[in-house]
Amino acid sequence: MSLALVVTALLAAALGLVWYWRPRRALEPGIRFLLAAYAVLGAWALWFGLYAAPGHEPAALLLVKPTVMYWVLACTLLVAPALGWGYPVKAVFGAYFVFSSTEWRWINRGFALFCAVLGTINLVLATAYSRDDWEGFKFSCMVNVLAVLMLRIVFVWIDTLVRCAIALYSRMKSLLP
């Protein structure tokens, strides 16, 4: 079995599990919108990352890929509240944080602006500067992703892991004589 099929199978299993365990309540339209955008981006990533032969991905896209990512995020974050679909930034940082609606609005706007600026800088660097400059910027942007991940780990995942551990412990305890 090829790597692509294994990854696809794992991905399908993960999505199946997500579907099976999904909260049985309506999602905010803004978050659904974000999910749809990510589904498209993810499908693209899956196809060109695993299935398409190397070099088949449009060469012109290579330099603007981060811009596409940032601008899609920025558009989603800006359009959704304008249409009254809520604040998609909640899905990025975690809906467990206690912020007022106004605070969420500003966080959403701030994050959208941040993404838009980063996308623009990437475009400028990709077209007007050297490849090294562009790559330097691109990798420095990974720190942002890491920061979001750390935020999620500290404030959401640790608690989730604790709950998992407690649940497992309780389950094991009940199984023991």
Partner: protein
């Protein structure tokens, strides 16, 4: 050959001090040291023979031969032992020269009955001593110290010094408490008609002034080693230079370095940068002994307490009817007029055991407590006001709402989030 019969050793001649000699068959004993091997002597159960390894050079063997000829003819007078105690050997002193094929090979000495004795090293650890069938108390320890000091004093009276005086070279008779010194062929001799050096030393028992140089004053070295052994015996095996550094000044990790720098923290003059080991009971020792320790480890004008002075002071406590010892309410033998060292030690160990128990319990409970703490912090449900305040202070800028979703829903969301992160990474990389 029978199963228990030892194999044959070499056939030798024993040359006695009066010049007479006897043929003897040696039997392998299975004890070998750095310089030679010890054998039983057939038909002479009271003696053993030490045969030097052939690897020793001729010059070294010649030195040993001269020394042993002198020793065989000059046995020192030793402290008198009451007649009811039989078969006690205080010194493994050479009694005959051993010749093999007409050449010097070693010497014969009185045999120390290992069944009746134990290494003095064992007395430094009461549990170890108990394992050898010896119950330690301060009365016995002081008596052992006194007997050792007396023995050393006798040797010093003949201008003989042990130099490499250390617990593993000493044997103690379990019932009679007399001490035997092994390895007499390594002694320093400074007699009118003969001089022999003692090159062997052990850094943990070597006086500071002889570190990095020759032992110029062997008797002073013995006094230092004797004081160290007495201190260890009376202080539960704690070495007088074992301590705890408090300041930022460098503190040598090995005892030899601490001895060299004179870092003795048990004196009556408090040392600023080094504290005594917490388990020490040195302050339960009488002033007379503490003064001797101070003078031994911090000598005034380079003059150290002699073995004779040690013997004279220890004699006050050694005898059963000396009055220097008394029983504490718990039944331990202690120095009269002083706090009971045994009770003090038990208290220290009890506190330590209690601390250890609490620590172990805390360690065992740590994962569960950590999980609880993290969970309560995240949910803001601390019951302890202090912890609640702490948690609030730590997480005040960002507050988390209690997660009300079932765990499986949360997991579904987080899996989806992680997939989203992978997609983001792919687009940004």
């Amino acid at each position: 050959m029978g199963a228990t019969e030892k194999p044959d050793g070499p056939r030798v001649r024993l040359v006695w001090p009066d010049g007479q000699s006897d043929a003897a068959q040696l039997r392998v004993l299975g004890k070998s040291g750095g310089a030679g091997e010890v054998f039983n002597i057939e038909d002479r159960p009271e003696l053993v023979a030490k045969i030097y390894h052939e690897a020793l050079g001729p010059a070294q063997l010649a030195k040993y031969e001269r020394k042993l000829h002198w020793m065989v003819g000059n046995r020192p007078a030793l402290p008198a032992i009451p007649s009811q105690y039989r078969g006690i050997v205080q010194l493994a002193w050479p009694v005959a020269i051993v010749m093999r094929e007409g050449r010097f090979a070693g010497f014969a000495m009185e045999k120390i009955d290992f069944a009746r004795t134990l290494e003095l090293d064992y007395l430094l650890n009461r549990r170890q001593a108990a394992g050898e069938g010896f119950t330690v108390d301060f009365g016995k320890l002081v008596t052992v110290c006194y007997n050792l000091a007396t023995l050393i004093d006798c040797l010093h009276g003949r201008r003989i010094a042990v130099v490499d005086l250390k617990p593993i070279n000493l044997k103690v008779y379990k019932s009679e408490l007399y001490v035997s010194i092994l390895d007499c062929d390594g002694f320093h001799i400074d007699a009118a008609d003969f001089v022999a050096e003692a090159p062997q030393v052990t850094p943990e028992y070597l006086a500071p002034e002889f570190h990095g140089g020759a032992v110029r004053l062997p008797q002073s070295q013995d006094s230092f080693a004797l004081a160290t052994i007495v201190f260890r015996l009376l202080n539960y095996g704690i070495h007088p230079y074992a301590g705890l550094a408090t300041g930022r000044q460098p503190y040598p990790t090995e005892l030899a370095g601490r001895i060299r720098q004179g870092l003795y923290p048990y004196g009556r003059q408090v040392m600023q940068h080094v504290l005594p080991t917490p388990a020490s009971v040195h302050d339960c020792l009488p002033d007379a002994l503490r003064t001797l320790f101070d003078r031994s480890f911090v000598p005034i004008n380079g003059s150290r307490v002699s073995a004779g002075e040690w013997a004279a002071t220890l004699e006050r406590y050694a005898g059963r009817h000396s009055g220097g010892m008394a029983h504490c309410p718990a039944g331990h033998l202690k120095f009269a007029g002083m706090d009971c060292a045994s009770c003090r030690r038990e208290g220290i160990l009890q506190v330590h055991a209690e601390r250890h128990r609490k620590f172990a319990a805390r360690v065992r409970a740590t994962p569960v407590r950590a999980l609880k703490y993290v969970r309560r912090t995240l949910r803001g449900t601390h019951t302890s006001p202090f912890q609640a305040a702490l948690a609030q202070a730590q997480l005040n800028p960002i507050q988390i709402a209690p997660v009300t979703l079932p765990l499986r829903n949360v997991l579904a969301i987080e899996i989806l989030w992680a997939l989203g992160l992978f997609v983001t990474y792919w687009w940004l990389r």
